[in-house]
Symmetry: C2
């Protein structure tokens, strides 16, 4: 039996609750072979569009209070966690199998001195015109940037995860053979000071959170499921080259090939896990998940 | 060591995230004596105003999809669970104690044949005028009622909880001495059919869910913390009489004294737990919680 951390990209989730429920049936089906073999499984899901939707609903509504980003993230964990656990429960029932599935509300510790807080780069929420943006920057202290000619948006920090506050909860559930859904959306970002832990306006990259999770809980393998079946060099050109098996050392020389905010964080997350533990990481697509779990498909990242 | 289920009323939570964080410091402080003594604790919180707020935000926002009530409930579990676990973690840290705290996203099974579905009674969300209400009833199939002269509101069913799908998750965490937050807002209501479990538009009373929780996990005591320190007969009249210790049999003869939607469901929940298990229930206020845990304050409901 092996222990897997599966990182589930935003493409596996939905624009609205109906679509999300449908898409997650496919996800549940994709991980069924792993469940059948009795492996230990933690699922870390993204939440980009969903947390944006929640934040937007509170922004646009006249009768509700402003909802800080940490709280919106917590809501997205409840919302997406419910759909994932429900989908897995239902496919297990259909297959006459039983395994417990638990979603854990998860806080992830970040460092207030993380350089990301000085240079916020993650655009979130609605678009505004220049005057609105200036007003928000002045009155609310938001960092606003001009986003690709489409208007102004708020940007928040994307700091690195340094610890998972609910790690013992996750470990206790894995010990009892539960499938665990945790650190959704990268986790609720909290910093620690003399008053304790408290939420901050930030978004933790969910692939980095998956890598930290895999390291902390002693996973045998980190599997990142995304929209493409392999990592490619010169992706979407006639020279594109599929990477099948690659070492951390080789990847270090190739980093400039990968897009920030897209393939790069996934590769960095795999490198971090594999370098720290000597254990492999895999990047593949949801459609090829079964083969990826067996290392018959996907890009496999090894230590040497 | 005893096992407690603590049901936390809406008055212990907040209208907005800032207020809620503050109020929950008081809740964490109130249960600290129980934690210090090493008892086993499950917290079930209400979510009336919070789930209403989330539903309203999605209703009022132009750019976001409609959010069904089950999904809004799941969001409220993430939102409130995060604040409760954070508040408890911080007070433990301040007291130099360590205990793990875990919020579990919880689905609660209800019966599609529950009479509540034929007679929905729980008003939710915004007020509408008569024409709007008729349109919603016709186009969306909603049940709409006239609410005390203030306009029309949607009503949904409040069915009885019959099982807690994540009970094994809660038990596994209690086994490891975690403080568990579960079935928030009464749980995400799901029914079971040939396709599996799926969410329904309903709200489960959180006190009834607490009683079911206490029964299923083998609690020694159910403690309902609300806005008043005792149950009273002829409440708020000059003849009001405090109930200190009362049997289930006595309560059966007194039910007409208590307001539906207020004290009545709390009393029914205590009667259900105490009748099913022979173990006591207590109704008291957050301010008197410490004494209530020691049965020195509050209304104690016993089997005979």
């Amino acid at each position: 039996m092996s222990r897997y951390v599966i990182s589930l990209g935003g493409n596996a989730l939905g624009k609205d609750p109906g679509e999300q429920r449908e898409l997650l049936k496919t996800v549940a089906y994709a991980i069924l072979p792993l469940i059948e073999e009795g492996h230990s499984i933690v699922i870390v899901h993204g939440n980009g569009p969903q947390v944006g939707m929640i934040n937007l609903a509170f922004n646009e509504s006249d009768s509700t209070p402003d909802m800080p980003f940490a709280e919106c993230g917590a809501m997205s964990q409840g919302y997406i966690g419910y759909h994932i656990q429900n989908a897995i429960m239902n496919i297990l029932k259909k297959s006459s199998m039983h395994r417990n599935v638990t979603s854990v509300v998860t806080q992830v510790l970040v460092d207030p001195a993380d350089p990301a807080f000085r240079h916020p780069t993650k655009p979130i929420g609605s678009f505004y015109n220049e005057a609105e943006a200036k007003k928000m920057a002045k009155e609310q202290g938001y960092d606003m940037i001009e986003d690709a000619g489409r208007g102004y948006r708020r940007v928040i920090a994307s700091p690195k995860p340094i610890d998972i506050l609910e790690k013992n909860s996750i470990l206790a559930l894995l010990e009892e053979n539960h499938i665990v859904i945790a650190a959704g959306g990268g986790g609720i970002p909290v910093i620690q000071d003399e008053r304790g832990y408290h939420g901050v306006d930030a978004v933790i990259d969910k692939d980095h959170a998956s890598a930290k999770m895999a390291e902390i809980i002693g996973a045998d393998e980190l599997v990142i499921l995304t929209a493409v079946d392999h990592v490619y060099l010169d992706f979407n050109t006639e020279n594109q080259k599929k990477l099948k098996r690659v070492t951390v050392g080789e990847l270090k020389t190739l980093l400039e090939h990968f897009k920030p905010g897209s393939m790069l964080p996934k590769i960095e997350a795999c490198m971090a896990f594999t370098e720290a533990t000597g254990r492999p990481s895999v990047i593949s697509s949801l459609e090829r998940a079964e083969d990826a779990f067996k290392r018959k498909s996907g890009t496999i990242i090894v230590s040497s």
